[in-house]
Amino acid sequence: MSATVDAPAILKKNYLTALKEAIDEEMLRNPDMICQGEDIGLLGGAFGVTDGLQAKYGNKRVVDMPISEAAIIGSAVGMALNGKTVMAEMQFIDFISCGFDQIVNMMATYHYRTAGEVNMPVVVRGPAGAYGGGALYHSQMNEAWFCNSPGLKVVCPSTPYDAKGLLKASLRDGNPVIFFEIKELYRRRELEEELPSEDYIVPLGKAAIRREGTDVTFVSYGQNVYHCLAAADELAKQGVHAEVIDIRTLVPLDEETIYNSIAKTNRVIVVNEAPMTCGFAGEIVARITTNAFDLLDAPPVRITRLDTPVPWVKPLELYVLPSVEKLVNAALQTVRY
């Protein structure tokens, strides 16, 4: 987010490279770590997140799996039970539905069922999100399913720095983590930034304030953070100062940062690109109203995808998704409430 203008361009890294480095460094650090997924070895992954890893760590630790999402998850659980840490890639996060039972019933509950005997250092990660013309099955943000399945942590970074730091934290967390990568950000040039040369993590459960403001708070994550920032630019021109919070981790959620902001702004707009009903935007609104009701001068607003799948062609896709324009309008209405 805060790339310094005069840093030599060569050191700046994009979101995808940050992820790749996180996996590489953890594989190096932890000899008990295994990576598995479809086409992650020989090919290096559909998007190249695991490029070069099989050559470096061998095909026993970087495994090209059959097209079997349920077995990818289930075997990761078995490896974790037997002492391994596993990064399991879903080629697109959309395909996680094919391994759903193994995630919500087998993996998520393992620690609970065993009264703590067994922990599950498994990160299921994959490219997610719309706005790229991927249509119904290459655009999903299905994080709410997992937020409603106790025992899973849920993470969604929006910057290269966070992508690397959160993925490392996830791989060290010891709990199963569903890690949503925003594929539209993988190679976005404007986001490239220098990354620390030393080992670092971004702790799970800590939000980031992306922009300070006094009049209204945007709460978001993933690529919608950039819609919020653009809306804040726009609003600033009209004299409305928006604060933008990037929650980064959905489970566990950093509520404090949100409430502190609302204490200042007294108005909040929650933004995400998942379907509205039972989505995480609603969860944030519910927590705010139950826990910070008195701070609110206006009803909290949700701007989300409509309750539809993500359609293919551009006009339809944009119609159903949050946009800068929708955010600006909502903010103006809210401050005038």
Partner: protein, 379 residues
């Protein structure tokens, strides 16, 4: 015959299968064989044109080339009844307009999509059968008996089984053909659906297009048996292996499975051995050159289905030597091939489709919010 071989034609039927006295293809007329050859050109030309259009930046989405796999599409569709159902997936785009094309390329009443509709889908226009709400191969049509797929591989097989069950309950005699890559046979739903179909002896034929690669993963890492068709043994159903480069062998094996299904004897798997000509999708062409051994690629591309068919027609005397150098699309990549390499009929046919698609409009934005729920009520 191993997974890696795309050349042999031996039959791998279960012992309880009848020995085939005469091959179904022996009964094809000269005209029919010629028509199949033309259809191979048509499928190839469609692919060539799409690649060109995509390279020119006129199309969005990923293009999964069917180059070198056309004999599977043509050979499997040719013997179907118009009322049979199919469910093509990403590498079978030509199948959408080639279903029932025997009822006339220009026949608007045939039970299959027009090339105009299919092009409208590729171009993402409102005249697509699905009004361009979902992409590429995810179209379909109830009335045209084409099942709509999702992206989730092998996911149409249970749907096909359900279609077949309903048809049987109605006293119908339709057969349902599903297409799948060899990699997709690792999915759990493949097992559940075929197991169910086998228990109920449903008329479902599962075609496995074994092009040796599932994206960047070779077949050995997807399937533990010598032939992917061996999966059939686990269900006690016929598992046939066809030479996917030979349209007549595909026709023979698929017809055997179709007859088996239509007569009430249940499902089959037909593996068609072939080779993926390009990358997984057009975005993968450069990388594929790195992860696939060059000699394998050269060997795999060796037997172009159009050439194999031409050779057969020459042998049978269906065509004379004047055809030996006519329409030489075979072996040429999309960038090499020109319109002159294809029969005029093929070029004209597709051009009409493309013109239609280009002229068709984008769907209005508000349609994004429509048709989430059916409002009509049911029986």
């Amino acid at each position: 015959m191993s997974n890696k071989s795309a050349t042999a034609t031996a039959e791998k039927a279960e012992p309880d299968q009848q020995p085939v006295v005469s091959r179904p293809s022996d009964l094809l007329t000269k005209e029919e064989r010629f028509e199949m050859w033309m259809q191979l050109y048509l499928a190839r030309y469609f692919d060539v044109r799409l690649i060109k259009e995509k390279k020119r930046g006129r199309l969005r989405g990923t293009l999964y080339s069917s180059h070198n796999q056309e004999a599977i599409i043509v050979g499997s569709l040719f013997g179907l009844k118009p009322t049979d159902w199919i469910s093509p997936i990403h590498r079978d785009m030509p199948a959408f307009f080639m279903k029932d094309i025997r009822s006339g390329w220009e026949n608007n009443d045939r039970i299959g999509m027009s090339v105009e509709e299919v092009c409208a889908q590729v171009w993402g226009k409102v005249d697509s059968p699905g009004r361009a709400r979902d992409n590429w191969s995810h179209i379909g049509s109830r009335s045209k008996r084409i099942i709509h797929s999702t992206s989730m591989l092998a996911g149409t097989i249970p749907v096909a089984a359900g279609v077949a069950y309903a048809d049987r309950l109605n006293g119908g005699d339709s057969v349902v053909i599903t297409y799948n890559g060899e990699g997709s046979t690792a999915q759990g739903i493949f097992h559940e659906a075929i197991n169910y179909a086998a228990v109920h002896k449903l008329p479902v034929v599962t075609i496995v297009e074994n092009n040796q690669w599932a994206y960047g993963t070779p077949v050995e890492l997807e399937c533990p048996t010598p032939d992917v068709a061996d999966r059939a043994k686990g269900f006690g159903i016929p598992g046939l292996v066809a030479d996917g480069q030979d349209v007549f062998d595909v026709y023979d094996k698929v017809m055997q499975a179709v007859n088996h299904a239509r007569s009430g004897s249940g499902p089959s798997i037909v593996e068609c051995k072939t080779f993926r000509a390009y990358g997984h999708g057009d975005h993968d062409d450069d990388r594929a050159a790195r992860y696939r051994p060059e000699d394998e690629v050269v060997q795999g591309r060796g037997r172009d289905p159009i050439a194999v068919c031409r050779q057969r027609l020459l042998e049978l005397g269906d065509i004379g030597s004047d055809f030996a150098e006519k329409w030489v699309a075979e072996g040429k990549s999309a960038s090499e091939a020109t319109n002159e390499d294809f029969p005029e009929k093929v070029v004209e046919y597709l051009n009409k489709g493309i013109d239609f698609a280009v002229a068709s409009a984008l769907p209005p934005a508000e349609e994004g919010g429509m048709w989430v729920f059916y409002e009509g009520g049911s029986k």
